[in-house]
């Protein structure tokens, strides 16, 4: 037998206009176990809260029902009230008579009747509620950062500077990410390498950062505060503990592979470092390009290596790292534009994608910084096509956000390095960022030709063999444009890095329809995810420029810090548990849980739930045929009782 207090809020006229609140309170007082029922103008106000607190004491209440706005609004407020009054905070029930009753009807009769029905449901449920205890767990104070582009580097450095130990995981053999491929950055046109390489070096030198390059996350276990992340160190075939980075091996190597770093524009050695400033300065062997791996003999590198660092027998190794929080900053890829056959990428040598062009500008790039076409000639006319695959309902609906600006940057650099005419084919020019509009204005002054119209097709010129023709509709003049050019630059959609699906699976992240990781809340929690303790930063969340990425990285570092700064943390109490005497060992719970919280205890022959992993969704409880699983706060009997209460009137 419980003692329930019911508190009906007027919410000014928000509720009182379409629900007769005093009648509702009177009705409540007739319901089973209700010992006091009151209505008040603003229950969430200080006097309202005091009234509840006083009544809890005066009437020895052990359940409180607040009939007011949505629980998503004020549940926490009233939980506090109970806690302060010495009651377990889970004993409050919020009845939503504003958002789901008073605001959705104009009829006071209807409103009052529905409010009674839903209140009755709450009374039925409240009688079966029980106190719940939040659990406190120890927190590991290290952090893992996955992805060592500018976001990962920045976040790692920030965390490391606060004294936290950071494990920085990078899939490639060097850190730096896409930013290291750029020549200049918009809108300031400062040299990308000049601002990035000091940071890369700082990572290398930092005593609190454990850099793990050429590594991938292979398994994630555990939960916020206590993750066990298994990392696979891919075989480099070089023992980095012996290698001193003299790079003598790379000179002799006869194997030829495609340079990922230069976007495939040139070849590189089988044993290589991706680029001169790579961090760490230690080579790896590309197995697919290595003559020894392909033909069984060569081993030239082995002969020249004085430190005996070459090891053809090397295998992948696995290490498990314990951390309290994880920042995922896996970045992006450009969309493969080859399937968009109308643009002729991969078919016409004169068609480039944006990253290739970045490399053409760069002094460490395939052309040494000279802008020449694949045949070595300098282009006379260049077209830059915006929004290839993005802002396109047939491919990716999202705007990749940075293309307008880098296209302007390209225009500037083309103008600087060639005598070519530069044309921009754009839908809208988006220059919303600090100094961006100014940059745009500056480029307009530089004799770049802007054609408002999306490039529709790139074809071979019929008149001038070897040249290309860009077709588009100029939406300002309404005329159809056919423009002969030598070079076409495509600005493809930015999409999540290959392998992000796997990352999403490993860390239990949701993704949006394009595969970008979902933030917990688009506005108020843009860096946290639905997986507690996992944060996201940079383009893996959505396309953004370097300043935004760095800002996010700093933010994510701060968020991670709020977790690992504490020794202990409290976990939500609304988790599931197994009643072992009812468990039929069907292991359905183990099969369905998205978080791996239930596990089968062979010894006892029953399932158990690791409550620290449990998020309280209740899926296990509904697939448990024997009703052995109790989803706390949403137990079967509580839900059934609520349904019964809702259906009574």
């Amino acid at each position: 037998m419980s003692r329930i207090g019911v508190f009906v809020c007027h919410c000014g006229l928000n509720i009182a206009k379409t629900v007769r609140v005093s009648e509702l309170a009177k009705f409540a007082s007739t319901l089973p176990d209700v010992v006091v029922a009151k209505d008040y103008k603003f229950m969430c106000s200080t006097p309202g809260q005091e009234m509840i607190a006083n009544d809890i004491k005066k009437h020895k209440l052990d359940r409180v029902i607040v009939s007011a706005c949505s629980p998503l609004m004020h549940e926490q407020t009233f939980r506090k009230v109970l806690e302060n009054a010495g009651l377990n905070k889970y004993l409050v029930t919020i009845v939503n008579i504003r958002e789901q009753v008073s605001w959705v009807t104009h009829d006071i009769e209807e409103g009052t009747a529905k409010a009674k029905a839903v209140l009755n449901g709450a009374v039925y449920r409240a009688r079966l509620l029980g106190p719940l205890t939040s659990r406190v767990i120890d927190v590991n104070d290290d952090v893992m950062v996955v992805g060592a582009g500018i976001a990962g580097i920045q976040a790692s450095l920030e965390l490391a500077n606060t004294g936290k130990k950071v494990y920085l995981i990078e899939k490639n053999s060097t850190i730096g990410g896409h930013m290291a491929q750029f020549d200049k950055t918009f809108p300031t046109l400062d040299c990308s390498a000049c601002i990035l390489t000091p940071k890369m070096d700082a990572v290398m030198q930092h005593k609190n950062i454990t850099l793990m390059t050429y590594c991938e996350v292979s398994e994630v276990k555990g939960f916020v505060g206590n993750f066990d992340v298994t990392v696979r160190q891919k075989a480099r075939y070089i023992d980095h503990s012996k290698c001193n980075g003299c790079l003598a091996c790379t000179e002799k190597c006869p194997g030829k592979g495609v340079s990922e770093w230069d976007e495939g524009l040139v070849k590189r050695k089988a044993i290589h470092i991706p680029f001169p400033q790579a961090v760490p300065q230690r080579p790896i062997i590309d197995r697919d390009a290595c003559v020894f791996f392909k033909k069984g003999k060569c081993r030239l590198c082995e002969k020249v290596c004085e430190h005996k660092a070459i090891d053809f027998e090397q295998q992948d190794t696995f290490t498990t790292v314990k951390v309290g929080a994880v920042i995922v900053a896996t970045g992006y890829d450009l969309m493969d534009t080859q399937p968009l056959v109308q643009y002729g990428y991969g078919k016409y040598p004169g068609v480039y994608n944006a990253l290739e062009v970045e490399r053409l500008f760069n002094s460490t790039g395939p052309t040494g910084g000279k802008v020449t076409l694949r045949d070595g000639k300098e282009p006379q006319a260049i077209a830059i096509l915006h929004c290839i695959g993005s802002r396109d309902k047939n491919n990716y609906e999202h705007c990749s956000r940075v293309c307008c600006m880098y296209s302007l940057k390209f225009s500037h650099l083309f103008k600087e390095k060639t005598t070519a005419d530069v044309y921009q084919f754009y839908i809208d020019m988006r220059a919303a960022g600090k100094g961006y509009e100014e940059f745009y204005n500056r480029i307009i002054e530089e004799d770049v030709k802007f054609i408002r119209g999306k490039g529709a097709r790139v074809a071979e010129s019929a008149d001038e063999p070897g040249r290309l023709v860009v077709e588009a509709e100029d939406t300002i003049t309404g005329k159809f444009v056919k423009l002969p050019v030598d070079m076409v630059v495509l600005s493809p959609a930015m999409i999540p890095r290959s392998g992000s699906k796997e990352i999403a699976r490993l860390f239990n992240l949701s993704t949006d329809k394009n595969g970008f990781f979902m933030e917990r809340h688009p506005k108020l929690a843009p860096l946290s995810t639905m997986s507690e303790g996992i944060f996201i930063a940079g383009v893996c969340q959505s396309p953004k420029d370097i300043p935004d990425t760095v800002a996010q990285a700093n933010g994510a570092a701060a968020e991670a810090l709020t977790i690992v700064e504490k020794d202990k943390m409290e976990l939500e109490a609304t988790t599931a548990m197994v009643n072992p005497s009812s468990c039929c060992a069907c292991q359905n719970c183990v099969r369905v849980c998205p978080y791996g919280a239930p596990f089968f205890n062979e010894q006892k022959g029953v399932s158990e739930i690791n409550e620290a992993l449990c998020k309280g969704c209740g899926l296990c409880a509904s697939v448990c045929p024997a009703s052995a699983i109790i989803a706390r706060h949403f137990t079967n009997d509580q839900v059934l009782a609520e349904i019964e209460g809702l259906m009574e009137f």
Binding site: E99, W103, A113, F634
Partner: protein, 145 residues
């Protein structure tokens, strides 16, 4: 008097319940026949809740969850989809009009859709008339009580 159906709604906390709140915040009116139970995820819904709701006198049951792929718990609603599909087939073979049971994916931003679904479903159930097959007839209590 016109028949006013009782409709049980079971809504997931993150999408449909929030969407229902949004319908309220934007003052969309819809029929007051729906009474909502909030659960954390549509996958929490045990098929027996639905059988029981009909026994307790529900004329219709509306389940709302996140759109497939958008589940707050990643995959909960994908399990729910299968389980509820089977529930519907069972109701149908037992002789309950399948139109009395409906599952809708309504996101937190779809207040409009929520209101629209409730209007449409209420109308549909109203046209079907009272659900008497599963309903447990309350036995009259002796005078003294």
């Amino acid at each position: 008097m016109e028949f006013e159906p009782k409709i049980l709604g079971i809504a997931c906390n993150w999408c449909t319940y929030t969407g229902a709140d949004l319908a309220g915040t934007t003052r969309l009116s819809y029929p007051q026949n729906l009474r909502v139970v909030r659960v954390m995820c549509s996958s929490r819904i045990n098929p027996s809740f639905i059988f029981r709701a009909f026994q307790l006198g529900a004329d219709g049951v509306l389940v709302g969850g996140c759109h497939p792929g958008d589940c707050h718990y990643n995959t909960g609603n994908l399990y729910a989809r299968r389980r509820l599909a089977v529930t519907k087939k069972i109701l149908e073979f037992a002789g309950i009009e399948p139109e009395r049971f409906r599952v809708e994916w309504i996101s937190a931003s779809e207040g409009n859709k929520f209101a629209e679904v409730v209007r449409e479903f209420t109308e549909q159930v109203r046209n079907l008339g009272p659900q008497t097959k599963f309903k447990i007839e309350r036995e009259p209590m002796p005078e003294k009580i």
